[in-house]
């Protein structure tokens, strides 16, 4: 794990790092000492580790809860090299969707393919970050919606260190099998008028989750329109389960 830069603003220290060629960012409270809960965040499709939605949430997890937060670029995203195989599939899928094919199964297939790489990558990141003395081996949470849900469900299912997860904007086609193996508390977000994930698919993924404690929050609006008050709820959810 190589640290490339460290900056600080508004009480949050941002550490840019590279681990096995994977670019990542770790946010911690300024002057953090000793172990603390850690949130792993998965960004959305076409986004990257410092997308505005990721950064805004990370800052609140750090400043309001004192947590550490880590995010890395998904293959083919952000500062990672283009992946010709992925690009080809995306282009093909766009053509098939334009020709009238259903979008959801195409997205699902692509996310399952990418997850085969990201699950071990994120486990390696977790290993490395938890060795830092100001993060340590505290409880871990996962946050990810859309692509971050498609990749997050198999990650949470595979990783026993994760104790609670906020997921959503994803469907059962991609993730139902792995979802059944999840047993930790989950807060699951559905956008009632999601133009990318059919409502029934989102509800079916919530239904598939094996967790005894799982709570579905559905709100009107499209894929990108999660209301602001859900972030307040996310923070309370993580505080309840990780603090």
């Amino acid at each position: 794990m190589r640290f490339n830069s460290e900056t600080s603003s508004d009480g949050v220290r941002e550490h840019l790092f590279t681990l096995d060629e994977i670019p990542g960012v770790l946010w911690t409270p300024d002057g953090a000492v000793g172990p603390r809960p850690l949130i792993v965040m998965g960004h959305g499709g076409g986004q990257h580790k410092k997308a505005p939605g990721v950064v805004a949430r990370a800052f609140r997890f750090v400043t309001e809860c004192g947590f550490a937060v880590v995010a890395v670029d998904v293959p083919g995203h952000g500062d990672r090299p283009k992946d010709e195989n992925y690009d080809r599939i995306v282009t093909e899928n766009q053509a098939r969707a334009a020709a009238g094919e259903e979008l959801a199964p195409l997205i699902a297939g692509f996310q399952a393919l990418v997850a085969r790489r990201t699950v071990p990558e994120w486990q390696g990141v977790l290993d490395a970050v938890q060795e830092l003395p100001f993060v340590g081996a505290g409880p871990v949470g996962y946050w990810g919606v859309s692509l971050g849900c498609g990749l997050g469900v198999p990650f949470v299912a595979a990783e026993p260190r994760v104790r609670a997860a906020v997921l959503g904007l994803g469907g059962a086609l991609a993730s139902a099998e792995a979802a059944r193996r999840i047993t930790v508390p989950v807060e699951f977000l559905v956008q009632w008028d999601d133009e990318r994930v059919p409502r029934e698919q989102g509800l079916a993924l919530f239904d598939a989750l094996g967790s005894a404690e799982k709570t579905l929050h559905a709100n009107p609006g499209g894929h990108g329109e999660i209301p602001r008050f859900e972030l307040d709820s996310t923070i309370r959810f993580f505080a309840r389960h990780l603090s």
Copy 2:
């Protein structure tokens, strides 16, 4: 409006009253002076104005938010005389359900019948309570699940003083038409394994709500098993919209 008794405990003053033969209870903060938000609560079927689930919520609304809370007995419930017409329908419905008929449409029909009486009754209660100087004409919220939803949806639809509502454990069969006329923010509770209200019916009632801001909270478990953390969410919801 006739006050029958007044007691106080843990900072909450409980006023028992009768209005046009309707027995009711009003809870306010001890020593309350001046106007404040008011929550109207509708109890469940077979319950009454001081059922444990009503009292527990009312106490938290009063102590944590400084609100006033009012609940009255639904016709045929609590301290109100038995209603032979209602009793006959309930007995008939039980027989029809025992004979294999679907329960949900029978419940829906009964609730619609009772609502024709409770909507004007509750409006009269609201008029009277808001004239008290320590309640006043502040913003009004409504809380009710199960029968409290079946009766609450037409009440909230009819009553412009209600600015926000927590509803749930109810289905579209009883209430979809009135739900379309509701435009205030709603937090709507669904129990994912509800044995009395089919999941699809609950989701369809949420869908029917005309509100631009509405949020569905669904959790595993049966009709009576709303998790404790939903009350925390209810309190924040009312605080956000009424304070």
